[in-house]
Symmetry: C2
Subunit: 704 residues, 2 copies
C-alpha cells in the first residue's frame, strides 16, 4: 500500500503515451478495461493522482459505467434484439426459426456500435456473427425499406432460401473476421437444416474474401496507424515459437485437464442458465431495472478488477525479461500497479489488460515463473463468475473470448500445480485449458479445433487439442446440453434437434396433430378467407378441391398466408365460382409474392373490402403450392421429424390412411415437434424409459 | 554421357547404405522409383556397374515392372474391386450406392498390400481411404464370415445406418492417416446423404485417435527405426521456415495461377475420363490384356524416368549448399546421375525421388536457382501425362499425390517465368500451384484448404491459398464436373447429385415411374411371394391390405426382399389367411433381420419349398415397415429428389392423387432419378433450356 499507485502517474509520459489513449478510445475494437483506466486518468495533471487510489478508482469505475450505460441504453431503447451473443439467434434462424426483427437494420447498427463499447468481461465474436448475419439478411431484402436504403438489384434474393444461404455466409464471414480464422467456421453448420454442399462452397467464398481483405488491411495497418487493429497480424495468439515436444507421460495430465474442463464447462452452462433465468425475471420488470442491473454488474466488475490486484504480493522483475518491467501506460505484462520500482503485480498484469493480451500472456511460453498459483486461481474464479454474470445484461456481448480467458487461466493453474511433473510448458497448458473449457461449454469439435489452430498457429499441438476436446465434450455431454441450445430454449426459440427424442418413436403423427384444421376450397369465397385469416394465426392452409369441381374431395396443395393476403390486396376476385385459366397469374409480378421485409409485411387488418367483394370468389389454384410434402397419419413421429428437418420444411401436411374422410387431417409445424408440446399432450412419456441418458442432480435443481 | 552413371556406384558404401535399402523394401509406404533403383543395384558388385547404363536401366525397369506386376496380379486375380482410387467407391457408398464387394475382406487385404508396392506415378491417399472404409465395413459386419474372422460383439452394428456411419469414420481416418492431416477431412462430407451432426463428432473422434496414434508412433520412430515412416513428423511438407510477405502487387500472378490451374485441372479431368474409357475397352478383353497394359505403363514410366534426365545439362553444385551435393544412395535433391563430380542433374533430383521428396524439393524456399524452366517444364508435362496414364491400370492407385506433384511443378514453372516481378519465392508458387491444380481437379474447397494447411503448416499463406482455390474451382466448374464424379459415372455407380437438374422441375414423379409394380397382400400366398421374388430383382415391395381384411384397399407399408427371404427360410407359414397376433414376431431374433454380410446373403434360389408349403400363407404385417415415406403422383420430381436425398432413402412409394385406384402406383428408387433414365424417357428434355450452363467443345469431343 505504501509504495503507491505509481503505475499511472510515475515518470514523465512520452508523446506516444499521451496520444495513444485517445486513438484507442476512438478506434479500439477490444472490450478493454485497462485502457479505459488509462484514458480516464492520463489527461489529468500527472502528479496530482500520485497515491490517490480513490480518485483513480472512481475515474476507472466511472469510465466503465459510462460505456456500459451507453451500450445498454442504445440496446434497450433502439434494438433490444441486439442483446446477447447473437449466435443463438443465427443458429435458430438457420434451423428454421424466423423470429421477427432479429436481423433488422436497427439490430445491425446497435449491435456493431454497442458491442465494441461495453467494458465488461465479454467477447466480441458473438456480436460480430450477428452483425454479419444482419448485413446478409438486409442485403437480400434489398436494403431497409423503412430507412429508404434500397438496392433494387438485390431483390432477386428476396426469398427464404436465398436469405438463409446469405445469412449462413454472413455469419461465417462474421466469425472469420472476429477470430481472423477464415476456415473451419462453417463446418459445424450441418445444424443448418437447409445445408447443401453448394452452401459450403459459398460460405468458403465469403470467408476467403474476409481472409483476403483482412490480410490486405493488416498490411496497410502494419505501421500501427489503425489502433489495435494491425497488431497481431492474422494469427491472434501466435505460439509458433514454442517448441513442442511431448511424450506418453504427458498424456495423463492432458486427460485430467479434459475431464476437469468438461465438468467446469457443464457447470458454466448450468450456472449461466440459472443466472439468465434470474436476469430475465429482473429485465421483465421494465427498462429501469434493465439499466440498473447493467450498472450493478459494471460497478461490481470495476470493484473486482481494481480491488483484487491488492491481494497479490509484488514480485521482483525478472532480470532477463525481454519486455520492459514494470510497465505503465500500455497493454502487456509486468504491470506495476501499486508496487515499488523493479517490482510488478502479477494480478494487475492479467486484470488491467485487454482480454486479448491476457490470453497472449497466459499462452506465452517464457512466463512459467511470472505467475503464482494463487494469483491465477483468483483470476480464474473471477473470470468464471464475471463472464457468467456479465452475459445476461441487455447489450451485445459474446461468450467466446471470456471462455477462452477463463479456460486459459484454468489451464495455466493446472500447469502450475503439476509443475515439473510434465514436460509441457505452462503456455501449452493454458492453450489446452482454453480448448477444454470451450469443448465443455460450446461442445463444438472440428470448428473449435480449426479455430484454435488458426488462433495459435501451432499444428504440432493438434493431437493434444483433439484429445482434450474429445474428453471434455464427452464428459460435459453427460451432464447437460451445449450453451447455445440452453440460451435458445430460454429465449423461447423452437429449435428443432437434428435427431428425434427416443420417445418419438413410440408416437404417430396423429398423436400430436392438434387444433381445428382450416381448409380452403380450390375456389373459395372471399368472406371465408378473410374470416379464417382474421381468426387464426396460421401461416399455411391446405387447399382441397371439392365437388362439383372434382368427383371426390382431393387435396390440391398448400397456400401461404402471405400469398392469400397478396391476393386479397390485389382484389383478383371472381363473380362466380368458375375456374380461371393460367392467364390469371399474369396480373401479378414475382415481386408481389416475394418475401416481405420486416415491417413492410401487410396484415389482414390493413385490407379494406366492401360487402360486395366479400361475396365474390378467388381461384386459389394458380397460387397454391401443388407439391406439398405429405405424411400418412400413421407415420412414426420420429420419421416425420427426419423428413421435416431433412428437407427443411415449415409445414407438413398429414393425410388420412383411409379415403372416406377429408383428404387432409392436419398440418404439422415446427411447434408440433417440440418436446414441450409432445410431453404436454402425452405426460406419461416424460417418465418413460425412452429418453436420453444424462446425470441428474435433483438436489441441485431444488436449491436454485 | 562420358562422365558416367556414377551416382549408383561411386564411392564405398558405408554400412547404412547397404542395410537401408532392404529395410526400405520391406517397410516403405511410399511409391518410390529411386529407391527401387537403389535396391536393385546396390547388392551387385560395386565397381562392375560403373558407366554401364544399359544394365542399370534394365535393373531399374525390371524392378519397377516386377512390383507393378505383383500389384496388378493380386488385384486382378483376388480383388478387382480394389483397383483405382477407392475414393469414388466410398463416395458412392456414402451417397447410398451399395455396390457388392467394394468393402470386402479381400479388397482390404489387396488394397493395403498392393497400394504400397506399385512403382508408378500414383498416390496412396485413395487406397488408404478405401482401406479405412473396408476396415470399418468389416468391423460392423462383425468380421468376415467367409474367412472365419468374427467378433460377436460387433454384430450390433450390423445394419445399414451404423455401417454407413462407420464407413464415414473409417474413410476419414484413412485420409487423416495418409496426409497426417487429422482435421478438415470429414468436412466436405455433406455429400454423404445421411449426414448428421452426430456423425461429424464421430468422424472427429476417429481422426483424433489417428492423430494421437500417429503422434505416438512418430515419437517412437524418431530415431529412424521405422524406415521412411518417422521422417517428416506430423507435417509432411513443412514450409514454416519461409517468411511470407506479400502485397497487393502479388495478387495478379496468384490470380493467373488460379485461372491456368483451373483450366489445367479441367483438362486433366477430361483427359483422365477419355483414357479411362479407352482402358475400360482394353480391360474388358480379359485378364491378360489388363496385365499387359499395366506392364506397358510400367515400362514407359521406366523409360521416361531414366531417359528424360539425360536432356538436362549438368549444373555445378552451389557453393553454399546446406545439403551434400551431389548425392547418391539417398533421397533428396542434388542427384548426381551422369554428371561429373561437383555437378548435379536437376531433372534427376525430381525424377529419381519419392513423390514426397519431389514435393518437398519443389515447395522449399532456398532453391530458387536450383531448377531451370525447361527442366521444370519437362517434369510438369511428364507428371501430367504419366499420372493420367498410370491411374487406369488394375491396381489400387491414388490421385492426390500425383496431382500435388504436377501442380507444384506447374506452380514452380510459373514462379520461374514471373521471376523477379513478384516478391513471392518459388516455393510458395509451387504450393499455390498445387492448390490450383487440386482445386481445378478435385473441386473441394474447405477440406483442401485445411489439408494444405496441415501439409505445409503455414497459416500466413492461407489467404492466398483460399484465393487460388476460389479462382481455380470457379474456372474449372465452367467446363466439367469433378474428377471423382467422372470416375463414378464411368464405373456406373448411380450417384445422386445433391441438387436436382433444372429440367426435373418440369416433371412430376408419375412421369418417371416405370415398370410393372409388384404388390403384396397383407396376408400373402407363399407361391405368389416366391414367384415374384424369382421373376424380379426388386428390393422393396409395397404391402397393401385388401378386402376382406379391410374395407377398401389400403397401403400398409413396404417390405424388403431380404426380410421376405428370411420369412421364407424360417417357414413361418399359416394354413389359412387369418391375421396373427404380435406373438408371431417372437419366433425371430433381431439378427435374423440384420444386414447380411457379403457372400452370406441368402438367395431365393437357395430356398426349397414343398408343394404344400407353397399353398400356405404368410402374415406380412409384423415384418413390414409401416411408416414408409410417400409422395403423391403429382409431386414435382425435383421436390421428390430433395426428399429422397435429404432423408437418405432407398425406396420412395408413389401414391395416387385420387382414391379410386390401387393405393400405390409405383416405387421410386435411385435409378429413377438418374439423368440417363429420365432423359431416356423424355428425350426432348435433353435439348431444353433447362440445364446447367457449361462450355461445350463439340469438335474436341468429336476427335476423341
Amino acid at each position: 500500500m505504501a509504495n503507491g499507485f505509481a503505475s499511472i502517474s510515475n515518470g514523465v509520459p512520452d508523446e506516444e503515451s499521451i496520444t495513444a489513449p485517445f486513438l484507442r478510445l476512438r478506434r479500439s475494437t477490444s472490450n478493454t478495461t485497462s485502457q479505459i483506466a488509462i484514458v480516464g486518468s492520463n489527461p489529468c495533471p500527472v502528479e496530482s493522482l500520485d497515491y490517490d487510489y480513490l480518485a483513480a478508482f472512481l475515474i476507472f469505475a466511472a469510465a466503465n459505467l459510462g460505456l456500459t450505460l451507453f451500450a445498454c441504453l442504445i440496446t434497450t431503447l433502439i434494438a433490444p434484439e441486439a442483446a446477447g451473443s447473437g449466435i443463438p439467434e443465427v443458429k435458430a434462424y438457420l434451423n428454421g426459426v424466423d423470429a421477427p426483427a432479429i436481423f433488422s437494420f436497427r439490430t445491425l447498427i446497435v449491435g456493431s456500435i454497442a458491442a465494441v463499447s461495453s467494458s465488461l468481461n465479454v467477447g466480441k465474436a458473438g456480436p460480430m456473427v450477428h452483425t454479419g448475419a444482419c448485413i446478409a439478411a438486409l442485403a437480400c431484402q434489398g436494403g431497409s425499406d423503412k430507412y429508404k436504403l434500397t438496392w433494387r438489384w438485390f431483390r432477386f434474393f428476396n426469398n427464404d432460401r436465398d436469405r438463409r444461404d446469405l445469412v449462413t455466409c454472413g455469419s461465417a464471414a462474421g466469425i472469420a473476421a472476429a477470430f481472423r480464422a477464415p476456415v473451419g467456421v462453417a463446418l459445424e453448420e450441418p445444424e443448418n437444416s437447409m445445408w447443401r454442399s453448394a452452401l459450403l462452397w459459398r460460405a468458403f467464398f465469403s470467408t476467403a474474401i474476409v481472409a483476403i481483405l483482412l490480410r490486405g488491411l493488416t498490411d496497410l495497418c502494419l505501421s500501427g496507424k489503425c489502433g489495435l487493429f494491425g497488431t497481431g497480424g492474422l494469427i491472434m495468439y501466435d505460439v509458433t515459437s514454442v517448441n513442442i515436444s511431448y511424450h506418453l507421460k504427458d498424456v495423463p495430465p492432458v486427460l485430467l485437464l479434459g475431464v476437469i474442463g468438461g465438468i467446469a464447462g457443464s457447470v458454466y452452462n448450468c450456472l449461466l442458465g440459472k443466472v439468465l433465468r434470474l436476469y430475465n425475471l429482473i429485465n421483465e420488470k421494465g427498462t429501469a431495472y434493465k439499466i440498473l442491473l447493467a450498472c450493478l454488474v459494471s460497478i461490481v466488475t470495476s470493484c473486482l478488477l481494481f480491488g483484487l490486484p491488492w491481494f497479490a504480493t509484488c514480485q521482483p522483475c525478472p532480470v532477463d525479461a525481454s519486455e520492459p518491467c514494470p510497465t505503465i501506460g500500455r497493454s502487456g505484462n509486468y504491470k506495476k500497479f501499486q508496487c515499488s520500482p523493479d517490482h510488478y503485480n502479477e494480478l494487475a498484469s492479467l486484470f488491467f489488460n485487454t482480454n486479448d493480451d491476457a490470453i497472449k500472456n497466459l499462452f506465452s511460453k517464457g512466463t512459467d515463473t511470472e505467475f503464482h498459483p494463487t494469483s491465477v486461481l483468483i483470476f480464474f474464479i473471477t473470470c468464471f463468475f464475471l463472464s457468467i454474470f456479465s452475459y445476461g445484461i441487455v447489450a451485445p456481448v459474446g461468450l467466446f473470448i471470456p471462455v477462452i480467458v477463463t479456460g486459459a487461466s484454468y489451464g495455466r493453474l493446472v500447469g502450475l500445480l503439476i509443475g515439473s511433473n510434465s514436460n509441457l510448458n505452462h503456455g501449452l497448458f493454458a492453450v489446452l485449458g482454453a480448448a477444454s473449457l470451450l469443448g465443455g461449454s460450446m461442445r463444438m469439435t472440428v470448428s473449435l479445433c480449426v479455430i484454435l489452430l488458426e488462433l495459435t498457429n501451432n499444428l504440432l499441438l493438434l493431437p493434444l487439442i483433439m484429445l482434450v476436446l474429445l474428453v471434455s465434450k464427452t464428459v460435459a455431454d453427460a451432464f447437460n446440453g451445449n450453451i447455445y441450445d440452453q440460451i435458445m430454449s430460454l429465449k423461447g426459440f423452437p429449435y428443432l434437434e437434428t435427431h428425434a427424442e427416443p420417445y418419438m418413436r413410440q408416437l404417430t403423427v396423429s398423436d400430436v396433430v392438434s387444433g381445428p384444421l382450416r381448409v380452403f376450397n380450390g375456389i373459395e369465397l372471399v368472406a371465408n378467407i378473410v374470416h379464417v385469416l382474421r381468426t387464426t394465426g396460421h401461416n399455411g392452409f391446405p387447399v382441397v378441391n371439392e365437388p362439383p369441381h372434382s368427383e371426390a374431395p382431393i387435396l390440391y396443395g398448400l397456400i401461404l398466408r402471405s400469398h392469400l393476403i397478396t391476393l386479397l390486396k390485389k382484389k383478383a376476385f371472381l363473380l362466380t365460382p368458375t375456374p380461371t385459366d393460367a392467364d390469371a397469374i399474369k396480373h401479378f409480378s414475382a415481386s408481389d409474392f416475394a418475401k416481405q421485409g420486416l415491417g413492410t409485411a401487410e396484415e389482414i387488418e390493413d385490407i379494406e373490402l366492401t360487402e360486395d367483394e366479400m361475396e365474390m370468389y378467388i381461384d386459389l389454384h394458380h397460387f397454391t403450392n401443388a407439391s406439398p410434402y405429405t405424411v400418412v397419419e400413421t407415420m412414426s413421429l420420429a420419421k416425420a421429424l427426419t423428413l421435416f428437418r431433412g428437407v427443411g420444411l415449415r409445414h407438413l401436411l398429414v393425410v388420412p390412411k383411409t379415403s372416406e374422410r377429408l383428404p387432409v387431417v392436419g398440418i404439422l409445424t415446427r411447434h408440433d415437434f417440440m418436446p414441450e408440446h409432445i410431453l404436454g399432450l402425452h405426460p406419461m412419456l416424460a417418465k418413460s424409459k425412452w429418453k436420453r441418458l444424462r446425470f441428474k442432480f435433483p438436489l441441485w435443481n431444488k436449491i436454485f
